[in-house]
């Protein structure tokens, strides 16, 4: 695998994760628990789509096959998507969404903090811009974790369940393969083992504040790096890709 091939793969991981989570967050539009939160969740989705567009455009550019952000979003198949497994998790109830976003934004926060120093200028610029956004996403989701955890008995039980149920998808965030090896050597990517303790610390601090328990690792899901997703991704793509697939030659 060449460095360029590795970099394309890496950009797709970053871009796809933002895209798929953005799509999930848009599902909340007109479904929020209060008008103000509806607006907040749309803002998060808009940030994520913005991130996806940067990374997918860049991936298309260095791939040199003339593929645009739209080709990569709407014309790839299930197994070609490299988003992490957590990003595709269905929204469930508000607590499920908050827990998923909390795990993910804490991860992105530490990842982008480190990627600011990437030897690849585009990745570095992406990290600098996106870090500002995910800092807010982390604050937003962390505050909700605390509110729900330390709210009513019902909300405490619900958010604790959400955390337990999603925990098995968190290990996949830190998976690495040949791509990482190549890019770490070039100082483009980072060793995810270095941010894992930081992520753990963030999670632990907030869960403690929220009077919630951090789950133990038991069976942990994996596979996103090989495009091995859960069944839900196919349905998400079916909906998202409908128009460009139904009218393959149309311009929109």
């Amino acid at each position: 695998m060449t460095t360029n091939e590795a970099l394309i793969n890496y950009c797709l991981r970053l871009g796809d994760s933002s895209l798929i989570l953005g799509q999930r967050m848009s599902e909340w539009c007109s479904n929020g628990p209060i008008l103000e939160e509806d607006i907040a969740m749309s803002n998060i989705a808009l940030d994520l789509f913005g991130q996806a567009r940067i990374m997918l455009t860049y991936a298309g550019k260095i791939e040199k096959k003339g593929r645009t952000e739209n080709d990569l979003s709407f014309k790839r198949l299930e197994r070609e998507f490299l988003n992490n497994l957590l990003s595709e998790r269905p929204n469930g109830h508000f607590g499920d969404t908050v827990a998923r976003n909390f795990f993910l934004s804490a991860f992105s926060f530490h990842l982008y903090s480190a990627l600011k120093a990437s030897a690849d200028e585009q990745i570095s610029a992406f990290a600098i811009k996106s870090l500002k956004e995910v800092t807010y996403h982390l604050r937003h989701s962390a505050e909700w974790i605390i509110r729900l955890g330390d709210g009513t008995e019902e909300s405490h039980t619900k958010i604790q369940d959400s955390i337990e149920n999603l925990w098995e998808y968190t290990e996949d965030l830190f998976a690495m393969n040949e791509v990482d090896k190549i890019l770490i050597k070039e100082k483009i990517a980072i060793d995810l083992n270095t941010i894992k303790p930081l992520w753990n610390k963030t999670i632990n601090e907030i869960l403690t504040k929220a009077t919630l328990n951090q789950p133990e690792n038991s069976f942990m899901q994996s596979g996103s790096l090989d495009g091995m997703h859960s069944e839900v991704l196919g349905h998400l793509l079916t909906e998202m890709q409908f128009l460009p697939r139904a009218y393959p030659t149309a311009k929109w």
């Binding site: 895209l19 799509q23 848009s26 599902e27 539009c29 007109s30 479904n31 929020g32 628990p33 209060i34 008008l35 103000e36 939160e37 509806d38 607006i39 749309s42 803002n43 989705a45 808009l46 789509f49 913005g50 996806a52 567009r53 997918l56 952000e69 739209n70 979003s73 709407f74 109830h93 508000f94 607590g95 605390i146 509110r147 729900l148 330390d150 709210g151 009513t152 019902e154 909300s155 619900k158 909906e239 998202m240 409908f242 128009l243 460009p244 009218y247 030659t249 149309a250 311009k251 929109w252």
Partner: protein, 288 residues
């Protein structure tokens, strides 16, 4: 403040707010299927603005001595009305064009005039809304233009969307002045600064030309330029349909209300948790 004036404003502003909130749904219907990433973010930003506008309007309505909760309860129980246009389905992507172009276009004509309404908080929210909405109508017109100039299938979709949304859009301005029981007082009190028929005419005059430019046909055989009046003459609207939809007989009336209620009900535990958490924090602060 005279009681009749207050009541009228409460009704008009809250209906306007409800329309923004329910109006999120027909467009939300295509959000997940937007055909490009640009189209997706633009549509999402637009729907989000509508939520914001609903919120500004509830704020204005709350200054009249009634809480947002009370207004929302009226919406949830079907006691309050919202614009009938949102009880029509959005069946194809071209409808995103038609909604932006026609529905937002009609709303803007109305809202621009309301910037001079006599009640300050309403006028101020209108100024803010008009400023933010300036891109909405363009977004819709851009979609419908691209489709009208696209493939044969896209052009058909665009014309079909215009056919379905034209009459409901011009009915958004409400009944003829002669049949509108509330218009008299509202104009007298300077809440409304132009009558239903005046606003409708202004909208039609502006829109016909836009349709011609992109080669679409407005589905009204009676539509004709009247040199003498300096306006377009147009055909009669189907008032039976109008009143049927106003009274809850629109294709999506039940669906829209149910969607809102489902979201509200699923959020109950979250609102309760936030409230309880806030109370606990307050208690801690009081003790300390």
């Amino acid at each position: 403040m005279p009681e009749a004036y207050r009541k009228h404003l409460q009704r008009q502003i809250s209906q306007h707010a409800h329309s923004e909130i329910i109006g999120m749904q027909p467009e939300g219907n295509w959000l997940l299927r937007a055909p490009s990433l640009r189209a997706k973010v633009v549509l999402l930003a637009k729907i989000q603005d509508e939520a914001g506008h609903g919120l500004y309007l509830y704020s204005a309505a709350e200054t009249l001595g009634k809480s947002r909760t009370e207004y929302l309860n009226e919406l949830r129980t079907g006691k309050a009305k919202y614009s009938s246009i949102f009880n029509y389905p959005t069946l194809t992507w071209a409808d995103m064009g038609a909604v932006g172009w026609l529905v937002d276009g009609a709303a803007i004509v109305n809202q621009v005039s309301l910037q001079r309404t006599s009640y300050g908080p309403y006028a101020r929210s209108m100024v803010k809304i008009c400023k933010e909405e300036s891109f909405h109508q363009r977004q819709g017109y851009e979609i419908i233009t691209d489709m009208a100039r696209g493939s044969e299938a896209q052009k058909e979709m665009a014309q079909d969307a215009l056919n379905r949304f034209w009459w409901p859009s011009i009915m958004m301005f409400g009944p003829h002045d002669s049949d509108s029981p509330n218009t008299g007082n509202a104009v007298k009190w300077k809440i409304k600064r132009a009558t239903n028929d005046e606003l409708r005419q202004s909208f039609i005059d502006k829109t016909v030309h836009q349709a011609e430019i992109i080669g679409l046909t407005i589905p009204d055989p009676d539509l004709k330029w009247n040199e003498k009046r300096g306006h377009y003459d147009f055909g009669e609207m189907d008032w039976d349909e109008f009143w049927r939809v106003v009274k809850g007989g629109g294709p999506c009336s039940k669906q829209r209300l149910k969607h809102y209620n489902d979201a509200h009900n699923s959020g109950e535990w979250v609102r309760k948790a936030a409230k309880t958490y806030a109370e606990k924090q307050q208690l801690k602060q009081d003790v300390a």
